[in-house]
Amino acid sequence: MAYFRLRTDAQSWFSEIADSPPFRTKFDIYYLCLIAGLASGRAIELTGTAHPASDLVEKFVEDYRPASRLIIGLLVTAELRKSGIDVTEKAQVRALFKRLVDSESPNSLTDQGMRRLNAYASGGYEYLAEQRDMKPYTAEEFIQGYTALIEGAVEKLAPI
């Protein structure tokens, strides 16, 4: 069964802030990395031993259930961009959906879909770590600077 997985070095990087409010679960950290990955288009697969990671959860946690399908939609758009497929190419879009989406799965993703989502979270962590001089020591400071980092990521992303 595919799980949401977060790199252990990402967990260490966030260790000063991850376990206290406003973060409620480790999924918050995963999500912030994921959005950075989707925004920057950076995906690094968690295969082999290069990037050890640990399982978080199997399903979207309560806080993210309302946005879960939007997140899957963003994964699809990121993968379309990565594959150079235009959104109007319906057959290819549908084929991509078939590879990534599974209505029977507890998280609505195929194993491949989950692997790619985890890859974006992994790439997003690297993007965030590169953009900052040091690991975050207060959640407030990190959150306040987060949207600017995402803005920067989107700006750097080349148009299709």
């Binding site: 409010p21 939007l70 209505s103 306040q144 949207t147 803005e151």
Partner: protein, 659 residues
Amino acid sequence: MRIDIAGWSTSGLRCPDVTIDLIGPGSTVPKVTLLQMPNGTGKTTTLEMLIATLSGVATLWDEKTVRSYRRKGDERELGTFVVSLLVDGRQLSIELVLDFEMGVARYRTTNPGSGGVVQSWQPLPAVRRFLAKEFLGLFIFNGEFAARLLDERQTAADDAIDALCQLYLLNEIGEFVEQEWSRRTKQAGPKSDNALTRLRTQLDNMTARRATIAKARVKAEAQVREIAAEIAELAAKIEERLGTGRSTREQFNEAKIEMTRTVGALSIAAGNAMQALRQPLAIHPSFATSLIALKDNLDNLRLPENTSAQFFNELLEEDECICGREMTPGAKHEIGIRSLRYLDASESGVINAIKQDIGDFTAASETESPEERLSQAMAVLGTARRDQKSARQTVNALKQKLIDEGDEELFAWQQQLDKQTKLHGDCTQLLQKIDADDEKDDSAEPWSLKLIDKKIKEFGGKISEITETVTLRKQTDVIKAVMARTTELARSKIKAELIDLCNARLGKVLANDPLTIGRIDRSIRLEGQGTGSTAQVLAAGYVFLMSALRRGNNDFPLVVDSPANPMDMGRRRRIGSLIPELCSQFVAFTINTELPGFVPALADSTDEIRYLTMFRRTTGTARLLAGLPATGVSQNDYSVVVEGKDYFMSFDVTDEEDD
């Protein structure tokens, strides 16, 4: 195993020369021995000597420590302390000799049953493990120790459970199988000598490294706890001092209130901002743009075939269509063909839902959009951060002003606080390093225990392959894992049982002001309260210790200095009546002021009780010699020991009377 103390004798030390025979006229050790010693008679020295003699640690003492036990004005070059034990009824005697001229300590051990006299500290191996200094500290102590069991900074309660229930034996099994595997690997043939030697060296080095790091971890963890407590104490002292002045201090207090407010506001603002961030469309407009494009270009909504085909099949069986018209053969045929246009693969369900959500979340709304909500939350967060920073700066500036105004003690506290805060950070960092699970394998001296364990396993695996002991290695690993898990489970089960047992007993001992143990996490943690009164804490400590002593399958004597001093009469009575049923031998050093309540309760609970009274022979106590009873007195030039309840109960000296 049952260990009893049969007695001890001392000469040439700070405490007076005396022989204490705990067996007395009977052939067995009585359950309770009360030894009344006025303050200044050497209770503390006697306790220290008991532990030093039994544990064999004095050979590590420096000259100064050795000489610190010499009696002032005494010309004798040697001081000796001899302890006689009964180990399952067999005699064992250990003698500690302090050579004051040379500044060294030496031992002599007498095992009449096996080995005779040995000129060193050599108790039999089976006994030795119970004579470790840490273990002895669990049953030879002063009254304050019981309170330490409830001190959050200490690990005394956990240590007591491990030691008394002998959980270390499980660890020893793990070590034994490891040694056996290692022995077997050494029987490998010459074909693999070079590689094997290298691997063995690597394994030995890494194993030694593990021991060093594990030790450092224990030390750092203890330091973190102790320093955190010290930091809290210093911060409280500083705050109290700062809060008790005028003008600047009033401003300081106001600034502190403002800082608390801003911290709260910042926490709320951060929570709101994070909540707004949980909606991805809020984070960047490009997300909504791309999702809308995706939605607009997806096919028309279809139904997932796996869940919806049955609907059309059943509709074809109906007399009427869902539009109300009659279901003619023609209509059935048409519906059968057209239904295929609306059915699709299983993922359609998710795609439909995604389209639906994109539509819902990106639709224009009269209320705030997610983006506006996030933007507003971020603005509030920015303000809250500025306010909090400003409030903190004000507090720091006022604190500095107070220090500059001449409060030197405050300055010293602040310096100590800064120093300890840094040390706390260093220790925490060290712990993180040791506990890290992502250390890169690029150093000969790694810090992460996980990495070290991994490397030990790798070296072990390679050695196993070369020496053809792979199966034995796997079996060794299984046994070690079983032992580790068993220790964990046993500890947790024992803790739960002990808590139940202790709480039942505490219900009796503290009937009037009940106190409940909630959990044991290094120390004993009370339910619903930080700590109890001194007397409550002492009572809880005793109950725990005695329950733990009985929980292991061993009987040890409990030797306590001033067991009932801080307790009120009611608790003395209740503790006193419990002691005989909780341990096999109880030896208490008391003074006359703690006898009421405690001694009658002890006497009511057991017939096996001996009363000894001891005092120094000085000109100050010369008046007491005339009142000595006719029998039961043993004396020398330095001390007098009297046996008997009457003399014990009527002895009215609290402090030693000097010349």
